[in-house]
Symmetry: C2
Subunit: 101 residues, 2 copies
DNA sequence: TTGACAGGCAACCTTTTGGTTGCCTATTTT
DNA sequence: AAAATAGGCAACCAAAAGGTTGCCTGTCAA
C-alpha cells in the first residue's frame, strides 16, 4: 500500500484519475507517453492490488476509478498516530538539540 | 519520502522511535534482531535522508529522533487533496458501478 | 595505554521492481 | 465476414533495493 504510493508515476496516475475519474487504459497511456501500454498496465495492476483504484470492465474497455478509502485509512490510522505525538516529538527533539555537548 | 515509508521495517523503526525517542543505533538493532547492524544503519540512513528522523551525535553514540514534520506535510498536502475529493470520487465510483451493462 | 564498545565505509550478492517485446483474445465497426 | 480497436499474458532484461561480510575510526573505561 505504501509501496504502491512509493512510485512517482503511480502517484501521477492517481492524480490523473483525481482530475478525471473513470479513464480507460488507453487514455491513461496518453498521460505517460514515455511508457508502453504494458508498462502502464503493470502500474495500474499494482494500484489495483493496493485497492487504490477500482476497475469496471464493460465491453472491450476497462474504466479506472480512484478509491479514496485506503488513503483515508492511512491518514487516520498511521498519520493520526504520529500527529498525536507531534508536539511531544518536537519538544523532545528540541531538548536533545539544545543539550550542551 | 513515500519510498522511505514503503518498507515495513523502516515503519517499524519509526514506531520504535515513537515509543521511545532518542534511541541509539545499538538499541534500535535490538528491535530488529533478524538484521545486522549495517542493515539497520542503511534503513536509518534512508529515513534520515527522507528527513523522517534526525540524529544527534554525542561522544561515541548517535541518538535518533523522530521528526514529525514531513509526515505532517504528507498528511496536509497529499492526503488532504484526496480527502477533498473523497465524497466526489465515492459518488462517481458508485455511479459507475451502478450503471447497467 | 590498552582494550572494548559504538559506529562508519566499501565491496559484494540476491531479489524485487520497472520496463520491454511479442503474441493472443475479445469486442466493435465497416 | 474482415479489419481495426482495446486490452491481457508470459518471457525476458536492466536497474535498484535490501542485506551481508570485512575492515577501519573514534571514544570511553580499566
Amino acid at each position: 500500500m505504501f509501496k504502491a504510493l512509493a512510485d512517482g508515476q503511480r502517484r501521477g496516475l492517481l492524480d490523473a484519475l483525481r482530475e478525471r475519474n473513470g479513464q480507460t487504459l488507453g487514455e491513461l497511456c496518453e498521460l505517460l507517453p514515455e511508457l508502453t501500454r504494458q508498462g502502464v498496465t503493470k502500474h495500474l495492476r499494482i494500484l489495483e492490488d493496493a485497492d487504490l483504484v477500482v476497475t469496471v470492465k464493460r465491453g472491450r474497455n476497462k474504466y479506472h476509478y480512484l478509491n479514496p478509502v485506503p488513503i483515508n485509512e492511512i491518514a487516520e490510522r498511521w498519520i493520526g498516530n504520529y500527529e498525536r505525538d507531534k508536539l511531544r516529538a518536537l519538544s523532545a527533539l528540541k531538548a536533545a538539540l539544545e543539550e550542551k555537548p
